[in-house]
């Protein structure tokens, strides 16, 4: 028996292992032509109505960066994770965290027209995605498209959003929910880190960026739920501990809102959710928050 025919036989055996169970199942289905018992179907339907899928949606890196820009913050590249650090990230945990972090830095750079940084950070994010085995999330075509449209902010945002979706859909669809959660956590912490670093304490009261940071309290439980759903993964378990420390500081901030009243703008057909909010965060709490966010973020990028 020559080498090729031996290989052929092995191949047929491997193929059979994968395909035959499917064929058997099909055969069984053909045998069971009798209608499904009504009682069973009703039971299935009852079970389905009890089943529940839950999504915990954190602000994406692009949304976080947009919130910082909208709050009137200025650009400062000192607060981005240097691209030279990519070589440090060799584990799944560090690559996942820094995929979120670099995507946030990329989004931030794009909103402030930092053309060279946009290319550099897209390449850094690509290295993280490649390291995680995310096939084609960011490919050469993406980089070329980015370069061709480097002065077109709308197209750049579209590319960032598309590549981020490629990554998180790949992870979600390949049963890597824990890694997807770590990516999101990395991006969210990076946004919070940049925002806290950019606050000018001389203008603390009435500072719009401070208000944006306070708003992040509304997402801390979402992040914790997202992580809790993936408990048991050592990297996630470590993150839960860190996020709980952050939550303890957020718990010192009070947010009170009046009930929502809806009103539709007849011209645009956009619904306005009307409510008033009062918040309080002391400078001390802000400093504490800044310190804990920095500690967590430093542990991500080291």
């Amino acid at each position: 028996m020559n080498k090729l025919s031996r290989t052929g036989i092995i191949a047929v055996i491997i193929l059979s292992l994968f395909v035959l169970p499917g064929c058997k199942s099909g055969g069984e289905k053909q045998k069971k032509i009798e209608p499904v018992v009504q009682k069973d179907v009703e039971k299935i339907k009852e079970d389905i109505s009890k089943a529940e899928k839950m999504f915990n949606a954190l602000p994406s890196p692009l949304e976080s960066a947009m919130l910082i820009k909208t709050a009137g913050a200025s650009f400062d590249r000192r607060f981005l994770n240097p691209i030279e650090n990519v070589k440090l990230y060799t584990t799944t945990r560090s690559q996942a965290l820094n995929l979120g972090i670099y995507t946030c830095d990329l989004s931030f750079a794009s909103l402030y027209d930092q053309t060279q940084l946009i290319i550099d950070y897209m390449n850094a994010a690509k290295k993280m995605a490649d390291g995680l085995g995310i096939l084609d999330a960011i490919n050469q075509e993406t980089i070329s498209r980015l370069e061709e449209n480097i002065n077109n902010k709308e197209v750049i945002m579209e590319i960032i959003s598309e590549t981020f979706m490629n990554s998180n859909s790949y992870l979600a669809d390949n049963d890597q929910a824990a890694v997807a959660a770590i990516v999101l956590a990395g991006g969210w912490i990076e946004g919070l880190y940049i925002a806290t670093q950019l606050v000018d304490l001389k203008n603390f009261n009435g500072n719009k960026l401070v208000a944006t940071i306070i708003d992040q309290k509304l997402s801390i439980d979402i992040l914790l739920n997202l992580l809790e759903n993936n408990k048991g993964n050592p990297a996630v378990d470590e993150l839960i501990g860190q996020v709980n420390k952050l939550k303890a500081v957020f718990d010192k901030i009070n947010i009170k809102t009046t009930p929502i009243k809806t009103e539709i703008d007849p011209e645009t057909n956009v619904t306005i959710l009307k409510s008033k909010v009062t918040t309080d965060m002391s400078v001390e709490t802000f400093k504490e928050l800044t310190a804990i966010v920095k500690e967590i973020r430093d542990s991500f990028v080291k």
């Binding site: 579209e158 956009v270 909010v277």
Partner: protein, 147 residues
Amino acid sequence: MKTIRLFSGILLLLLALTLPAHSQCKAFAKKEVLPELSPYVHDGNYHAAILVEGEEAELYKTFYSDMEYRVVVMGEDKLPAVEFKVLDENKNVLFSSKDNNNSRMWDFKLESSKQLKLVIKVSSFNKPGDIPASGCVAIMFGFKVKK
């Protein structure tokens, strides 16, 4: 060389045979749902799952006062109508697709940032005895800076 080619071919075939049903979800979200977000910018997040007739899903998200949002909830054609509601923390219904001509999208903005809950329900074909239909349901968000 022939051996390598043969094994590569088999591996590709196996990959195709074992592709999860979920990958159809990504294609659906990308081709059918994303275009509906325009002119809003997609936030980049991906929320999609295979749901079965009668099944419910929930989504929690914080929406910010500086932004204007569009949410699009769509199910594949093989599913019966997909309804969705948006509720505040006191379970008050802020929007119901059923009360809005089964609209699959909602545009809104907020005076103050809020965490809201979306409840998505795949309705039923109401055909007793039939195996329940299943298919992909995607929930996607777009945003733009509030004017």
